[in-house]
Amino acid sequence: MTQAMLEVHNLVKRYNGFTAVDVLSFEVYEGEIFGLLGPNGAGKTTAIRTVMDIFRPDEGTVQVLGQPPGMTRERIGYLPEERGLYRDLKVLDVLVYLAELKGIPRPVARPRALAWLERVELADWADHKVKDLSRGMRQKLQLVASLVHDPELLILDEPFLGLDPVNVELVKGLIRESQEQGKTVVLSTHQMNMVEALCDRILLINHGRAVLYGPLDEIKRRHAPHAVRLRTPTALDVLPGVVRMEQRDDTFTLTLEGITPQELLRTLVERNIPVEAFEVATVPLEEIFIAVVKERSHA
């Protein structure tokens, strides 16, 4: 996971005096699922459109698969946030046309499209017009359209938007499967739970600027509230280094001061307190994001 599939350096993009992306830098490595996170209007879509050569950067450089944007279109699968399909065309015809535009010859595109439709349970709809599909079906078809040409880099902008829980699981499965096949996935979303479930590394942006960037585990650890969660059937007494104790059923959240979790665990063992579960407490990514944004705005 060392080869950079996507390199963005000091990217700036402005519209009519408004800076949508403000000196943004990040890299996406081969084979990872990279989360591009941020609230609505943070600049995610603008950054992605610049990567896709739909927008030209005002400043900075972008390298996609080692080349400038626009040179590697056929090796990228893209699911835009603003998406739709030809309503009056047949499902199979749409997929074959989009695959052809990605450089797949028509005789190859057709069986491949049919196989994908089978995979997402839309094979029976191949000869129906797109307008006959339900919203969820159209969402799946759009995702398939970004995968049908077997891309090396998959860029998905809000892929879970408007999906029911069953289809959310299906899409998550397809993303994981893509990673297993060696593809690199850039997942842009404002749904942080999805990122926590799928991503290896993340870039959190707000007002066009990077707020958090790096491996997800590390970020969560870095922002962990120096606390542990302990499950024990025994009532706990005062413990050295523990300044706060919260109990819910048989699980305690202990806030530490002056000691490490390892030192606490040693104390528990020394005192023969039965330990059924012990873990370093983490906070949801969403809370980390809110905390960091507040901190930046006060700074």
């Binding site: 009519n16 459109r49 896709m52 050569d53 739909i54 927008f55 030209r56 626009g70 279109r73 056929e74 990228i76 893209y78 835009p80 603003e82 998406r83 739709g84 399909l85 030809y86 309503r87 009056d88 065309l89 046309y97 989009l98 052809e100 535009l101 990605k102 759009q142 359209a145 970004s146």
Partner: protein, 411 residues
């Protein structure tokens, strides 16, 4: 380049199945069939039929001859002319519909030339009678019956029988004033027909782009091709569609030439003058390219189909200026205003399509208009692709003029 062909093929296949295209394409052959049926119905005498309809002659004419030069009537005129002893008797015959018109020829007719024409109702039949070849023959025959032999009298009454011979189609005379009228009108309407196909095809482009934009499919397409490839592919595919339409029309016109074309009594100069035909095709293609690129860019600017159509109306109006100048066109197809409009890229294709069949257009106009169009098209494609690219991704808000200008200035 390959992707441009894929887009062109896609656009062609999608639009050739549109109901609007099929109806429009079938309309001309259907009119041809209708013409054929009319020709059969009138037993090949259609021209004469129309001539009769346009110039009906009064059948039964009463004559009161105070001059005395018309009495007795010559045998050749006795079928439709009747002498009355006095005006009162003649008026009574007119009132009782025995005759349709009454001519009262006074004693001083030779000096004054005045003849009183009585008719029932409006003065239309009297006016027609005044200009009628039959009445001229009646007067010449009787006034010169003793001085001039009959063949010369006939010639004096109707001095020329025009036989129009085109230098390019020598030996194929085209007959009658109706033929002359149609010789001008038919190519004019063929020109209009070609112009219509330009607008219909570029209208598909406008609609296609607006649909792709409003259905949000455009960003998926732009992730696979450049805006220029997309616009060029669309122009190419829909240009082929327009050509298909014209070819079907031409083939059906040839096929039905015994019908529609011979009914009109003229061969189409667009078809018989080969240089006009070839230049017509050239202007058709160039005109299509100009308007298709414009419509593509305009289609991307609107936020809805209706808005795009309103914007496109500005350019359609510009292109329709030559059609509005039809009056000038008939009087002098080479007048300075029309020549100037032939040099302007947005009016050149339509203007030249209308001028070419109607007159010998100066070579300099042909060369200049083609050069202007050949230069304009890549410039428009370049500018159009920029506006196209900018407009496509602006949802819910139409770009301002300043934004369009900025997009054009960006490298």
């Amino acid at each position: 380049m390959r992707k441009m062909w894929i887009i062109a093929r896609h656009e062609y296949r999608v639009n050739v199945r549109r109901a609007g295209f099929i109806i429009m394409t079938a309309l001309v052959p259907l009119l041809g069939v209708l013409g054929l049926l009319i020709a059969v119905f009138f037993g090949g005498q259609a021209s004469a039929f129309f001539e009769r309809q346009f110039a009906p002659e009064p059948k039964e004419i009463g004559v009161v001859d105070h001059l005395g030069a018309f009495t007795p009537l010559l045998p050749a005129h006795q079928d439709h002319h009747y002498l009355f002893a006095d005006e009162e008797t003649g008026r009574a015959a007119l009132r009782s519909d025995e005759i349709t018109t009454l001519l009262v020829i006074p004693e001083d007719y030779i000096q004054s030339g005045q003849v009183m024409i009585f008719s029932k109702g409006s003065g239309f039949s009297a006016a027609v009678l005044e200009d009628s070849a039959g009445v001229r023959g009646f007067f010449v025959d009787h006034l010169l019956r003793d001085e001039v032999y009959p063949a010369l009298r006939k010639r004096l009454a109707d001095p020329i029988e025009p036989v129009l011979v085109s230098l390019e189609a020598e030996g194929q005379p085209q007959g009658g004033p109706l033929g002359t009228f149609l010789m001008i009108m038919v190519p004019y309407f063929v020109g209009i027909l070609l112009i219509m196909t330009i607008f219909v095809s570029s209208g598909y482009l406008l609609r296609g782009v607006a649909e792709e934009k409003t259905s949000r499919v455009i960003e998926i397409i732009l992730s696979s091709v450049t805006a220029r490839e997309l616009l060029a592919g669309k122009v190419l595919g829909l240009g082929a569609l327009g050509l298909t339409q014209v070819v079907i029309w031409l083939v059906s016109a040839f096929g039905l030439s015994r019908g529609a074309v011979s009914l009109l009594g003229v061969a189409l100069p667009l078809l018989t003058r080969s240089e006009v035909f070839i230049l017509g095709l050239v202007y058709y293609l160039l005109g299509f390219l100009v308007y298709a690129v414009l419509m593509g860019a305009v289609g991307a600017l609107g936020t809805t189909m209706q808005e795009s159509q309103q914007l496109a109306g500005i350019f359609s109006l510009m292109a329709a200026i030559p059609l509005m100048l039809g009056g000038f066109m008939f009087s002098n197809p080479n007048m300075p205003l029309l020549r100037a409009l032939s040099w302007f890229p947005l009016t050149a294709p339509t203007m030249m399509l209308l001028r070419l069949p109607m007159a010998e257009v100066p070579v300099v106009d042909v060369v200049a208009s083609i050069v202007v169009l050949l230069i304009s098209i890549p410039v428009l494609l370049w500018a159009g692709a920029k506006v196209f690219r900018m407009g496509l991704l602006m949802y819910g808000k139409r770009p301002s003029l300043a934004q369009v200008v900025r997009a054009l200035r960006e490298a």
